[in-house]
């Protein structure tokens, strides 16, 4: 099967602190790929390097056959790479619908804006009910839905989500996971960083386990789920 997004031995970090020490991963179209690993393993930095908000020191990021390593984030967004960042980063003073419109800002997404809005409201009916409401007044779960909705407005080729369930109640987390499952069923390519390992493994097709800036384990999620090495990647022994 084709690879839609390929990361080839990237190294990256912040200032003089190197975080990624040669990460390689392949994302297959229509699949849900998950990245797990302990604190500081490099999950968020990997997503940021792919998005271009953190510079890649070495290695390559290839989207749909095109080397995008040197492109700025907005150019990557224009090609269909979308990141739903940790902490959601919504426009707090804007309404729900205005936030969604911001997601359709890129050239590639403007045309289909109306249609996409309907699609987002189908996926998250709660957002439609609250479309005039200021985004900062939403609950945590609704804010996460809005962040995902804003991402979907961009017609993603690959939707990357950093920490979907962090800080959410089980009930809200459940809603989000079920929506994610539905999106995956519709054929969307998704890359997910998720702190609950069991959930990530149960939900995804393929899993990468990072430890200290490297890929420690990779494989079909079903197979990775049974491995004691996952525990070891988190706890060292």
């Amino acid at each position: 099967m084709d690879t839609i997004l390929e990361i080839k031995s990237i190294e990256s970090g912040y200032g003089e602190v190197q975080v990624l020490w040669g990460i390689s991963l392949q994302v297959k179209p229509g699949k849900l790929t998950t990245i797990i690993g302990a604190n500081g393993a490099g999950k968020t930095t990997t997503l940021r390097s792919v998005m271009g908000s953190v510079r890649t020191w070495k290695g390559k990021v290839v989207l749909n056959g095109e080397d995008i390593t040197k492109l700025p984030p907005h150019a990557r967004a224009n090609r269909g790479l979308v990141l739903v960042p940790e902490g959601r980063q919504l426009f707090a003073d804007m309404s729900v619908e205005e936030n969604l419109e911001m997601g359709a800002y890129s050239r590639r997404a403007r045309k289909g804006q109306k249609q996409n809005l309907e699609r987002v409201y189908d996926a998250f009916p709660q957002l439609k009910e609250r479309r005039k409401q200021q985004s900062s007044t939403l609950s945590g779960g609704e804010q996460q839905m809005l962040a995902m909705g804003r991402g979907l407005m961009q017609e993603p080729l690959v939707l990357m989500i950093d920490e979907l369930s962090l800080g959410l109640s089980p009930l809200l987390a459940q809603q989000l996971f079920l929506s994610l499952k539905a999106l995956r069923k519709q054929g969307l390519t998704i890359v997910l960083v998720e702190q609950n390992v069991h959930l990530a493994l149960a939900l995804s097709d393929y899993t990468y386990v990072l430890a200290e800036g490297r890929v420690e384990i990779e494989g079909k999620s079903r197979e990775v789920a049974g491995m004691d090495e996952v525990r070891k990647a988190y706890l060292g022994l």
């Binding site: 602190v17 089980p170 996971f177 390992v197 069991h198 959930l199 149960a202 525990r231 022994l237």
Partner: protein, 250 residues
């Protein structure tokens, strides 16, 4: 071995949040005790309690049998308890040697400037910074700054050294070097209490591990035991049954 530090039932509340809740543990003479736990577990807060940065609401801290509960850091350092900080705090306007000299001047012994400089130079040899003695602290790499942080705490001649994430941000070679430095510190008779996220390192270095989660002591034991403890695994990997609960189609 005899007990160097005895912490009994310490609790600390920040507003509505119980940051540290009824935590007890002890450190023996010559021991390396590792402190681990997920983000926000209260590890650094516990350090701040032990060396007197924070005053506890409840509990007692004995150091060599002496009650040091709520005694300030500048006081406990004279008894032989010093620490490093997770975010390195060099005195940027000073040289490397001057930074470490400060540690010696205000450490366990009140050293005069001359003997303090001598003591500082010895410590710099131990941590491999002797050749950088006259450079400004500001110009060190992150690995150099981490070593400087350790050196300054060591220059205070502690009996117990608290190390807060001294391996964070280092590359594998630098991690290995720092591990050797820590082993050397213990060999010289100093006990070590360390927080670390680089798991392989802390599991290999520590004699025993204490695990904190949501401010409470979740587990304590040998690295082997702790890393196989179901409660610890759950704290790191999440609820094992959550997938069944959440993913069945509602």
């Amino acid at each position: 071995m005899s007990t160097l530090l005895q912490v009994t039932g310490v609790s600390l509340r920040f507003g509505g949040l119980l940051a540290v809740s009824d935590v007890s543990f002890s450190i023996e003479h010559g021991e390396i005790l590792g402190l681990i736990g997920p983000n926000g577990a209260g590890k650094t807060t516990l350090f701040n309690i032990v060396n007197g940065v924070y005053k506890v609401d409840k509990g007692q801290i004995l150091f060599e049998g002496k009650d040091i509960t709520n005694r300030p850091p500048n006081d406990v350092v004279h008894l032989g308890l010093s620490r490093t900080h997770q975010i390195v705090k060099p005195l940027n306007g000073m040289t490397v040697l001057e930074n470490v000299t400060v540690g010696a001047c205000f450490g366990r012994d009140y050293l005069g400037l001359h003997p303090a400089r001598q003591a500082a130079m010895e410590v710099l040899e131990h941590v491999g910074l002797a050749d950088r003695a006259e450079t400004s602290a500001r110009s060190l790499t992150i690995a150099g700054k981490k070593r400087l942080e350790v050196a300054r705490a060591l220059a205070a001649r502690p009996k117990l050294l608290l190390l807060d994430e001294v391996l964070a941000g280092l590359n594998p070679t630098e991690i290995e070097q720092m591990i050797q430095i820590i082993r050397g510190i213990r060999q010289s008779g100093i006990s070590v209490f360390m927080i670390e996220h680089v798991m392989q390192a802390i599991m290999n270095l520590s004699d025993r591990i204490v695990v904190l989660s949501f401010g409470q002591k979740l587990a304590e034991g040998l690295p082997e035991e702790v890393s196989h403890d179901p409660q610890v695994i759950e704290a790191y990997l999440g609820d094992p049954d959550i997938a069944d609960k959440l993913l069945e189609d509602a």
